[in-house]
Assembly symmetry: C2
Homo-oligomer: 326 residues x 2
């Protein structure tokens, strides 16, 4: 069991591992590891039943969950602090039956099934009245926060509070909408496509850009051209197009940047009160290689420094020949 604790100053929540906590010594010099097929627990359990399965994609409960629904969700005080049982759900999406590490190497059909699986699990979790937000994301490689490289998988977290960063995005988009009566993201899509210099690639339904105020080298966002606040509705008619552009950008990272660690995070609207986000929020995916470390300046201010301009990142990624290896 873990706890959810709230920072009393900025209101940020942290999940604190308690019973299954690792020993302090375990944090000193952790080594990166590559798991071979013979040692891969996902391969060993490939025929074990999951929570959900479709075309070789399987959802299982995390074997070391940091969120669980074994106890009811109740917030309580602890002196001036706020704490609650870390209620929620922590699932692993095993993306393939094969021992393939990088999503970039999966087929388009397989990637499409993974995306549709995220949507189905989001729908299921959103029916739980205690769940406020569902995040589907991937950590690939040790620098991206994964314990090892081996079998392609991603994670789905369903949490009982609205995370700070989601609140910030919604509140920024809302301010723009209040003033302009237009969606900020739709305007960004138009401006970026017209301007071209930060566009990495586009297809029928999506455009990948290096964002104007990129925090990291080669940071990219997959922006849907059509307006939907919600990933689940958003991909109904565009899952093929999303799989194609996801594979494209991941191949550009793999080939152009020498198989770097990366994260992607699906930024959908909160699952409660969808009507209040319908006009002003616009789902999207942040995809970013992990090549630099965040330093004290960023930590101390929330002010990032990006050592190369996003226009240069975009131009570099545009020029990667992804057909050389596909």
């Amino acid at each position: 069991m873990s706890l959810l604790r709230k920072d009393p100053i900025v209101g940020r929540w942290t999940i604190i591992a308690t019973e299954r906590a690792r020993r302090p010594a375990a944090f000193v010099d952790p080594q990166s590891t590559v798991t071979e097929r013979k040692d891969c627990s996902y391969c060993q359990d490939i025929d074990a039943p999951g929570v959900y399965e479709s075309h070789g994609v399987k959802v299982i409960n995390s074997s070391s969950p940091i969120l669980d629904d074994s106890k009811p969700f109740e917030r309580r005080g602890h002196g001036l602090y706020d704490v609650c049982h870390s209620y929620g759900s922590h699932e692993i999406v095993v993306e393939t039956r094969e021992h393939v590490a990088n999503m970039a190497d999966l087929s388009l059909d397989q990637i499409k099934t993974v995306m549709q699986t995220y949507a189905l699990r989001m729908q299921t979790h959103s029916k739980n009245p205690f769940i406020e937000y569902v995040l589907a994301y991937k950590n690939y490689g040790v620098a991206a926060g994964s314990r090892n490289i081996g079998h392609a998988r991603s994670q789905i977290m369903a949490v009982p509070v609205l995370p700070m960063r989601v609140k910030d995005k919604i509140s920024g988009a809302q301010k723009y909408f209040d003033y302009h009566e237009r969606c900020l993201f739709c305007d960004m899509v138009s401006q970026e496509i017209k301007n071209k210099e930060r566009v990495v690639v586009e297809n029928e339904h999506f455009v990948v850009i290096a964002p104007f105020a990129s925090r990291f080298p080669f940071e990219t966002w997959i922006l849907p051209k059509g307006h939907h606040c919600d990933f689940v509705e958003g991909i109904v008619d565009s899952a093929d197009s999303l799989a194609a552009i996801m594979k494209d950008i991941l191949l550009r990272f793999k080939i152009g940047l020498n198989d770097p660690a990366y994260n992607y995070m699906i930024q959908s609207s909160p699952v409660k009160n969808p009507s209040s986000f319908k006009e002003n929020y616009h789902w999207h995916i942040e995809v970013m290689p992990r090549l630099t470390r965040v330093a004290g300046f960023e930590r101390g201010t929330g002010f990032y420094t990006c050592p190369i301009p996003p226009e240069m990142s975009a131009s570099f990624l545009r020029e990667v020949d992804i057909h050389a290896r596909t």
Copy 2:
């Protein structure tokens, strides 16, 4: 010259390097390096004049500044985006004339001079009408964002906009003050000292705690017992005490965690309109080893997961025998 660009969604600023941008290939597999005395540029230039000098501590302008005041500060639009010249100041504090890497190994007098130097430079920068915030901070080790380990130094950044994270802290502290008519930080200090389990060490003027909602293993905050919003005023009568507790906590990291990479960030109030922060804000220092990587869940939500409880971090750090090597 660099640019300051604002994320239109959450309002976060990024400094984008432009002319001196590194080549994309430079981000692939950067290696950590240790600089020996014979190759150390700080040792070679130790007698060159600085911007400020006192008792072996020297402030110099960064040789590759990401902020500079060569052009006036002017915000402008770029379609729907905001951008400005990255106006400001980027200084390096060379903490000793000797080739010593870790501040933990400096004398108390030397550390005290470093802290007083931060205060003096903050005072100077705060007189510039275009400067809104000054951050003094340290990156020690590659995992903390430093390019190499070699000569003890820290950095001072003076920026022309109020960073997002500073705004968040002030707004949280303000809400608490509005309701309770008491300082949130003063209440935290009382509760933590009474409760004891998250206290690592305390002395006459300061207490070091592992914060209740710690984001990282062994994250600590140095909290002043006396109420001041501002670092400069805050250390007038307590610089000896601050040097002692800073050395103490850095030695606990060095001995207990095998010389880890770490950051510290001095969290003082904004430099303009000090009277509006006087009652509700309380300066402090965040000090944290860098033992884990931030993963997709944290990036996607601002929701952290800390793999060990802060009570266990505090107890581990309390038990480190710092006199074994001092």
